[in-house]
Amino acid sequence: EPEVTQTPSHQVTQMGQEVILRCVPISNHLYFYWYRQILGQKVEFLVSFYNNEISEKSEIFDDQFSVERPDGSNFTLKIRSTKLEDSAMYFCASSEEGRDNEKLFFGSGTQLSVL
């Protein structure tokens, strides 16, 4: 079965540094998402992306966050100036058409640790 791949699997950074998390969605999928999960908490929606634009974002996704599809295969999440509370597992997901009755395919995540 096709997979969403995420790199790196672990990222350690100093507070205030910029990080870029990378994702390769499934090739024929058109909708892309970022979720995060703080240790022991629920999986939280951050942002959805379609046709090179953000289609929806949560209140967590503030000005420190940005997303980009720099080429035909990659989808990135940038955190401009990391804070301690950004430490979490970040999941990328994709879906084919973004319909309500469609399942999402998730990557294995990037564990971000901010020191």
């Binding site: 999986v43 929606f45 597992m89 009755n101 399942k103 395919f105 294995s108 995540g109």
Partner: protein, 109 residues
């Protein structure tokens, strides 16, 4: 506000028994609910989707029900096995997928 809640944080059952997990939603009427499995350190994996006009959906040992009167979905695993041990997430779909808190299922031999 619209909420989706999974009442049990953890459920322990013996191998061979049926596990039943509960998902409740308030202040809205979803057209669909989805169920996912999450293993430690991994992303959620889709299991089943049920529509509001479907009472029940089955896939192998899995069964999901949707009761719009009670505003509740039940997720059953029959003949449970230790390999079924994981966190199970229900998710509502509006214009984005929103997850409940999850129920951690432990099946012991």
């Amino acid at each position: 506000s619209q909420k989706i809640e999974q009442n049990s944080e953890a459920l322990n059952i013996q191998e061979g028994k049926t596990a039943t997990l509960t998902c409740n939603y308030t202040n809205y009427s979803p057209a669909y609910l989805q169920w996912y499995r999450q293993d430690p350190g991994r992303g959620p994996v889709f299991l089943l989707l049920i529509r509001e006009n479907e009472k029940e959906k089955r896939k192998e040992r899995l069964k999901v029900t949707f009761d719009t009167t009670l505003k509740q979905s039940l997720f059953h695993i029959t003949a449970s096995q230790p390999a079924d041990s994981a966190t199970y997430l229900c998710a509502r779909v509006t214009d984005k997928l929103i997850f409940g808190t999850g129920t951690r299922l432990q099946v012991f031999p």
